[in-house]
Point group: D2
């Protein structure tokens, strides 16, 4: 199972703590963590995952791995800039968004377009005229976010991917 | 001057009319129109622009130009799928969003990240916790959208690009 | 009809002259010119095309249009770096390669993979073990390159694309 | 240390055997294997690596992980088609090419452009007019390919990346 965690490269101390806990819990549940590989939320969630022996993948925007945070096990150097945001979310069976700015917003949009569930911790609110439902699943804590992400990643709807990944 | 118009490949008759008018006005003002090159809003805006002798560019997601609408003069075949959304907005000095679904939302996010002004006609509402301002410039009519887009594309802030393009 | 011209951003005076002539001839034959938008061969071919009233499209690798040469009419800002090489060739019905380094080689490879004919002027030689034929159509002059590119772009094999583009 | 292995999705039985051995040896030397994630050479090298407990990463071109071969541990779903070839090679400190068709040729070109060493087993020959040296390091066996790749990945020239990856 692969879970993406998305968020800004600059974030508050509270978001750092939250991200770290999300990383720890994902690792304890056996999920592979995928993220954008840079600082802020991405660094904190990788550090958390590594502290519990998880595997971390960073999908980097630049031309080499020099910008990867030190807790990325597998730096994927895309060279495609912000277009790499597509790959971050498409590689995951569920996405956890923590805070975030416009880059995170583009990732939320891509995930929703691909029918990948998005769990939100203090992140963007979206609304479209003529549409009532909030497409983001709102949660209040790191534990709730991880529970939700893992249960949705394993749900029948995402079964074919889940079975492939768990081989 | 290059203006991007973004919106869904399936849209309401009202949005078709709106898009067509936006296309006509952009052509009359001498702007090059860039869009995703497919149907719906993209097709209507290209048709409008061509009816007034404008130049239309379609940044296509697929592997060939077979999906291009018939009013695209320059089909750019990217082969990179939805990641092409980045190129649609980065190529423009201002973006007009008409309605739209998640693809459009990703384009709005990318434009705002690149400090390219986004003018909205009945499109997404965004809000982030702790942030009051609406980053989208809301307008009510095609004429207002085009006026705003052209004046912002020519503003000092975007001067260096504008001067290059108008050579 | 869209023809791509590929080659290095640094090139010899002889290649500049050759590229300029190719650009002039393509414009005179009514082809839209697509290229990588930068200097060297790309700049010379755009300058040639503009001198004869042609339309030039530059598929740029960077984050803005500041690197576009001054003869690009439509700067497409991809933001995806060298991955934009795919879009340069996929957008064309035939490709003319003039000299070139590794970037050009990647474009030749992408064109051949997509069954887009590649006409070579003093460019790479390729051979694979167990394969005799040269996949590149070798020519000796700008006139021959343009003739070959236009006739292949119009050949029955590429008919469906040609008909679409000539609308 | 990350080593990329590139080659075609359809290949000869001899290439399958060669790829499998390369995968085994890379895993025994502790390298992370990165590849395009599909069949043929990519599948054989992943199977070899897994048989010796290695870690395998597949950079997939499509929209989901359904095309990944069963020996890919970390499927990265890029959604960008053949433009993903850039990411395969840029993520590695050295590249081993086994046979290969045009996709492989584009990867060789991208690697050489980025100054990433390419070790060739029965792969493309390239030559440019006015240039004598073969830019590909030719080897005769899987063992020689892996030795060369690992020693070049660790050479001073690539030191800064090597040190980062081996943390």
């Amino acid at each position: 199972m692969v879970i993406a965690v998305i968020g800004d490269s600059s974030c508050s101390p509270k978001e750092v703590k939250l991200s770290e806990t999300v990383g720890e819990l994902l690792a304890q549940r056996g999920a592979i963590l995928i993220c954008g590989g840079l600082g802020g939320v991405m660094e904190a969630v990788c550090r958390g995952a590594k502290s519990k022996g998880g595997l971390t993948v960073g999908i980097l925007p630049g031309q080499d791995s020099s910008m990867a945070n030190p807790w990325v096990d597998v730096p994927v150097v895309t060279g495609i800039g912000e277009a790499r945001n597509v790959a971050v979310v498409k590689s995951a069976q569920a996405v956890i968004a923590i805070g975030g700015s416009y880059g995170t917003l583009s990732e939320i949009a891509y995930a929703l377009k691909s029918n990948i569930p998005v769990i939100g911790l203090n992140t963007w609110s979206l609304s479209r005229i003529g549409q009532e439902d909030d497409p983001i699943i709102r949660v209040k804590s790191a534990a709730e976010a991880v529970d939700k992400a893992i249960s949705l990643a394993r749900s029948p709807k995402n079964h074919e991917i889940a079975s492939l990944r768990s081989q």
